[in-house]
Every structure is written in C-alpha cells, then in structure tokens.
Amino acid sequence: MSVLIFAEGVDKSIKKSSLEAVSAGFALAQKLNTETIAIAIGDYDAVALQELGKAGATKVIHVTAGVPAYPSALAYASVLAGAAKEVAASVVLLSKSALGDGILSRLSVQLNAASATGVLAVPEVSGDVLKVRKSIYTGKAFAELSLTGAVKVISLAKNAVPLKEDGVVATVESKTYTVSDLAGKLVHQKEEKASGDILLTEADIVVSGGRGLKGPENWGMIEELAKLLGAATGCSKPVSDLDWRPHHEHVGQTGVKVSPNLYIAVGISGAIQHLAGVSGSKVIVVINKDPEAPFFKAADYGIVGDAFEVVPKLIEAAKKL
C-alpha cells in the first residue's frame, strides 16, 4: 500500500501547491500507516526533486522518457495509472488545477476509483472510507463526502494544507510507463505565456483591479504594488472582456478561482460572481471610493477612497516594508 502524489511543475521546479499535496499525502499516509511516494514527470534536477522529500515524500518516481515535452493530461493519466498499480496506491493525490482535473478524471476511470476535486483538508480515515470536505456552489457552501472502494483519487485545493518543510531526503528512482496512444491525438503547436510573472493561481498575495481603474493605462500602479508585495495581478471580468488585461487574469465565477493568503481588490464593486472566485482567500482588503460597494461586506480590511490617491501612497508604504 502507499499514497501516491502527482507533483506538477512550472519552469522546471515543483509548484508550491504540489508540495502542499505531498504534505497532505504525508499526513494521510501517517494515518494509513503507509508510504508517501511522489511522482514527477518531466525535466527536473535533483534539487527540485528533493523539494518533494522536504515536503514529506520518502520516495520519488521520476519519469522523463516516453512522455510528451509539454504537460498532457492524457499522457500523464496513463503514467499515473501505471505507477499507482505498481506501488499499490490506495490513494492518489493531486493539486487542483486544469491539468489536475484532466488527469484525475481519466485516472479515476482507469483505476475504477472514487474521486473528489478541490478538497480543503487532509482526508479523514474511517475504516476503508475516506471523508473529505470541499467547497461547492463556487465557494458559497461546503459539502462533506464519503469516498468508498479500494482506490481513491483526490485533488487538493490550493493553500488549504500547510507545507511541511522538515521531511527526509527521498530516494529517487527513474522509471518509464506506457503512455496511451490517445495522447498523440492532441498535437501541441505552441505555448503563449507571460514569462517571469508570478502565477495567479499559485500566488500567496494577489492584487486585483476592476473597472474603477478606468483604463489599461492605469495598471502601472497595480503592477508596481504587486511587485513590491511579491504578488500576482488579477482583474474583474469586465476588465478582461474590455481587453484591458489578458483573460487568464480574470478572477471569479467564470474565471480563475484563487485562494491566496491576501487578496487586495482595487476599484472592484464586489458583484456576487466576482466574490465567488475569491471566497477562499484568507484575508481580503478592499479599496473602493464608494463606501456602499458590496465588496466591503466580504472584506476583512478596507479603505474608502480614490484608488488614484490611495494606491500611490500604498506603494510608498510598501517600499518601506
């Protein structure tokens, strides 16, 4: 038996959300009295792989051969199915992402496993049943689920489980697994990605701007504040609809769901569909000139004021942090 965790990467390092999944996997493996094994697919060096050890893995399976050069849910699902069978995994853990969803959906069918996505804590063990908690109705409610059967496949919400950093040096094994022919039917052309930016979904802090900022030319101050805080930038839907900002920055019901430690909203009214994407944030700060803006009801801290006066002052203060 074992708990197997899929480690997703970005730019040749393991994502923080995947390290959280490994830490959750470790905590679960303790309860199940079994081994914590991480699997990383692609080009990682020994230092990157040892991050998995620190987070709680005792063994790392590293797959470099026979897989596409870009992330492929189809290919990765077959690799994970092979590995899960080989190490007799009773639980496979991933972190919730578009890639994670793609893998989990296929893997759960291949392993005939019960599945749940976006789980908010380390699963509880009750005999052969795992009990998990997840958010539903896009952050408006929670559900408690029981997963039965011999194998479970679970994805973990981001920033839901604390990172373990005192693990061991993991043994690393290179392996290959059969990849489904179907994977070759999706022909990768190219990737268009803003390089160097902090990923919105992975960020500890997010600074987000809305229509109150009047136009794309005013985003300089948002970017500057974000940079000083080590934050990613986000926006409301009209802002991306108007092409002021790229679509992948659009936060909310129909966009990206974020759950950072700190979400700072500038000139966003706080429509229910926007709130749906940020309700998982630990602390919310709202800056809006209208004291009646609904966002203040969902906020922990607020400043009632004109963004064009408040944000430059915040930038000055952030320089002194």
Binding site: S97, A98, D101, S115, T117, A143, E192, N261
Partner: protein, 245 residues
C-alpha cells in the same frame, strides 16, 4: 455533422444558497435555475459551428422533469433536439456514465460541455466521458476553429494559453471567450416548444461517492476600515494583526 452539447441545470449565479434542516438537501424554493454558464458557452459555440458546417445540435441533460424549462431554453437558443436522461445526478461519475451511454452509438463528431458545473465545481465530467468513449479531450477551451475534420484549439493554461490541433471526434470543456452567449429570438422560442425532447431511462451505475451533508460558511465579521490618509496603517495591520505579510 452532429454535435452533442451537455448542459447542467444550476441555480442562477446570484442565488442565495441554503439547505434543508437536516443538511442533506439543497433548498430550491425561490431559486431560479439556468443553463450552467460554461455550458452556455459550449452551446453558443455549437450554434456558431451549426451555421458554418450545416451541423445538427443535440442537447443533453441528466436530470428530473423539473429541468425541462432549461432544456427548452437550449432548444430556443439553437439546439435541434434534446435528450433528457431521467435521473437525479448523484455525482460526476454517475453523470459521465449517462452521457457516455447516450453518446456511444449516437455518431457524434463533437461533444461539447462547460469546463465545470457551477454547483459542484468538479471539472471532471468531460475527461471521464472521453475516457469512457476512448476519445481525446481538451479543457478549458477558449477558442475552437474547425476546418473540415481538423480543429485548432486554444486551451487556457496557468499564465497563458496552449495552442493545439486535434481531429474529430473529441470532447471539449468550454469557457469564455469561445463564443458570445446567444439571446433566443421569438422564432427560436416558438419553435423550441415543438422540437423533439426524448426522455431516456438511466443506465445502472455503481457509485462510490456519498454526499453526507452540506453546510454554509460562517458569517463574515465586520470590515475594519483604515483611514485613506494613512494607508501605511493597513500594512501594519496586515503584518501584525492578520499576519499575512
């Protein structure tokens, strides 16, 4: 060409969510139900493709009789016929099995649905359906162009997009800006009443997920306001009180 569009019947995005006293059941009193917003993007894309490729659109929902107004709306928007699998969905796996059972011998060239439902937010039905049918799948798709049997797709990835090509048939989970939502016109609404809506019985599925109970988040405390003339105070609070800096 034949397109299957799978839609969910979900509470309007502005709905207040509540549950029965025993926390076991969603309280639907006074709730307005709609086509899932992501599913509506999928349907809108199908309507675009229909105009260009002389396609037939079949819309599919797994749900009880109460979902028929939502299905009729999809017919008004431009679907040609509808299938309702007469069952209350229990989880993603159940729904995926029903969709796969309908799609298996349907001769569909393309299966579209939303990237996720806005009630249970699983985001896995498209992948499960594709796996059950032995088809490739892509999600979340923000652009889809069809040239003969070859599709060019832009898929959103974290921090940008990936462009890829795939041949029909395949399954796609859709999101904006793949197409603009269509507002049904009078003719669409009239004809929707008489378009065929077939009710089929569900296939048996062995479940392995049980929803034990539902709950609501704890109410948020009052916001702490910081004076606009002293924003540095905000960082002080974030650092020393909230401890997030």
């Amino acid at each position: 060409m034949k397109i299957l569009v799978c839609i969910t019947n979900v509470p309007d995005t502005t709905s207040k969510i509540s549950f029965s006293d025993d926390k076991k059941k969603f309280n639907d009193a006074g709730v307005q139900f709609i086509i899932g917003p992501y599913d509506e993007y999928a349907l809108s894309k199908a309507v675009d493709l229909k105009e260009k490729n002389n396609a037939t659109i079949v819309v599919l929902n797994v749900g009880g009789p109460e979902t028929e107004p939502t299905i009729r709306k999809a017919l008004a928007i431009g679907a040609d016929e509808a299938i309702r699998v007469n069952a209350t969905p229990t989880d993603a796996w159940f729904v995926a099995k029903q969709i796969a059972a309908v799609a298996k011998d349907g001769g569909y060239d393309l299966i579209l649905m939303g990237r996720e439902s806005i009630d249970f937010n699983g985001g896995v039905v498209h992948g499960m359906v594709a796996e059950l049918l032995g088809l490739p799948s892509v999600s979340p798709v923000m652009k889809l162009d069809l040239e003969g049997t070859k599709a060019t797709i832009a898929k959103e990835i974290e921090g940008g997009k990936e462009l890829l090509e795939v041949s029909l048939p395949f399954v796609a989970g859709c999101q904006e800006p793949i197409s603009e939502w269509k507002i049904p016109n009078m003719r669409g609404i009239m004809s929707a009443r008489t378009k065929p809506l077939t009710v089929v019985e569900p296939v048996a599925v062995e479940g392995n997920v049980v929803y034990d109970q539902f709950s609501l988040p704890a109410p948020k405390g009052a916001v702490k306001l910081v004076d606009a003339s002293d924003p540095a105070k905000l960082f002080d609070l974030l650092k020393n009180e909230a401890k997030v800096l």
